[in-house]
């Protein structure tokens, strides 16, 4: 299945190469965009939620992000990175901009303090029946605290390596290798 994705629409099962899908999306094919949206919307909203810590606001921002994605389709270049990474960047920037705006100025300090673990705990309390969330929660609990921190900063908060090194007070060279080992742990636990 390398390079192939199986997408389930409301009625149809599509097997289409991601590249083809993205190309069509860039040609402003709304149905291709709908599929991509189906693939990434939840994740992107999740990332935004780790930053803004407000589900309703996260939803709203998430929509804005995808509108932006739609209008800036032409600026994506597959030679420069993953499609997901591209949207991830747009989402992080939008969320961080929002946090830096007046209304959240006071809470700015808290931005880096909390990680996604907090949200998982909230989600878990609100809806204990959601098994896959419970599963993820279990695996997050298995992740070491230093892994939670580094993943949260690099992927969800968009910190650069240098910023991460400063934040966590570790040598710059360690960021890359520690992150590698943490992602490996995450992948291992996902397999189980």
């Amino acid at each position: 299945m390398k390079g192939l994705l199986v997408l389930r629409n409301s009625s149809q099962l599509f097997i289409m190469q991601l590249e083809v899908l993205i190309t069509r999306f860039q040609q402003k094919d709304a149905s291709a965009f709908e599929m991509l949206y189906g693939m990434y919307a939840e994740n992107i909203c999740g990332v935004i939620n780790t930053i803004v810590r407000d589900e309703a606001l996260a939803q709203e921002l998430c929509q804005d992000v995808f509108v932006k994605v739609w209008h800036n389709a032409a600026s994506y270049n597959s030679a420069k990175g993953r499609f997901f990474t591209w949207i991830l960047n747009i989402a992080r920037n939008a969320a961080i901009d929002e946090m830096r705006s007046k209304s959240y100025k006071n809470q700015k300090k808290n931005l880096s303090a909390d990680s996604f673990v907090g949200i998982l705990e909230q989600v878990g309390n609100a809806d204990e029946a959601t098994t896959d969330v419970a599963g993820i929660r279990a695996l997050i609990n298995r992740l070491k605290q230093r892994c939670v921190e580094i993943i949260d900063l690099l992927y969800f908060k968009g910190y650069t390596q240098k910023e991460v090194a400063e934040e966590l007070e570790i040598p710059l060279g360690t960021v890359k290798t520690r992150n590698r080992s943490c992602i490996s742990q995450l992948r291992e636990s996902l397999k189980k």
Binding site: K28, C45, T50, I119, R137, I140, Y155, N179, R180, L190
Partner: protein, 264 residues
């Protein structure tokens, strides 16, 4: 390049995070294209981040329909509608072209089918005509041979007249004495009834002695009604009688159809 070492360096994790410089990104993308292992690794890293980010997503699912309306409204109120129009034109032209292509292909397919069946028909016709030509050739060869036989100097023609049983019937015998061969032209004889056969007799007159020359077997088989028989008798006359199938030892004179004497 040591792929394993490259993967172990952690650069791919940073690539997915979007934390590399533009230059580094280009390099990674290039390697991913060249080495399937690297591509797979990137996809798996991405999948783990996707799983994690999904878990922290707001629980109210986002419907694309609402969203679609939003982009459509944005689209229609866009300041630069030129771009959109061009895209739409491509969209329609694309569909029109594909429709045209489909119709064209269907038309060509049908044409091809029609031509194929026509070719088949022509082949059958030509086969039939070849057969006819072959038959005509054979018939011509037979006629030529016949004519040559009749024109032979040694051939004596003996006309046979109709007798009491069948006054209107007639026959001709062409007798090549040298080759001791008879050609019986039985065109003037009616088709024999089922189970009966014409028998040709050689006669000597004084005293009247009939000798069987042969049967006109399969009477209707030859359209020309020409029969070849051997005759080594010094015949003075010929007669043809109707006999039961297989022929008789002596002629049934009540069924004598035609009779004729050798002139000289």
């Amino acid at each position: 390049m040591d792929i394993k070492e490259y993967i172990a360096s952690g650069i791919l994790e940073l690539y997915v995070a979007g934390q590399l410089s533009e230059e580094e990104n280009l390099k990674v993308a290039e390697y991913a294209k060249t080495y399937p292992e690297i591509q797979t690794e990137i996809e798996e890293i991405e999948a783990s981040i996707l799983a994690l980010s999904k878990a922290v997503s707001p629980k109210v699912p986002l419907s694309f329909d609402v969203f679609k309306q939003k982009i459509e409204i944005d689209e229609s109120s866009e300041v630069v509608p030129l771009k959109k129009k061009r895209v739409n034109a491509f969209w329609y032209v694309g569909w029109a072209a594909s429709l045209l292509l489909t119709v064209g292909l269907a038309y060509l397919y049908m044409q091809n089918e029609a031509l194929t069946s026509e070719i088949k028909l022509f082949k059958e016709q030509s086969l039939y005509l070849e057969k006819q030509i072959e038959e005509a050739r054979n018939s011509l060869a037979r006629s030529k041979a016949l004519l040559e036989n009749l024109r032979d100097r040694n051939v004596e023609v003996v006309p046979l007249g109709g007798q009491e049983v069948a006054p209107s019937s007639y026959a001709k015998i062409y007798w090549n004495k040298e080759q001791q061969k008879l050609l019986v032209d039985a065109q003037g004889l009616p088709d024999p009834p089922e189970g009966m056969v014409y028998q040709v007799w050689s006669l000597t007159l004084n005293p009247l002695t009939p000798t069987s020359v042969g049967l006109l077997e399969d009477f209707t088989a030859d359209e020309n009604r020409i029969f070849e028989l051997a005759n080594n008798n010094s015949s003075e006359a010929f007669g043809i009688t109707l006999e039961p199938a297989g022929g008789s030892a002596s002629p049934n004179l009540e069924q004598l159809y035609t009779l004729g004497t050798v002139s000289g």
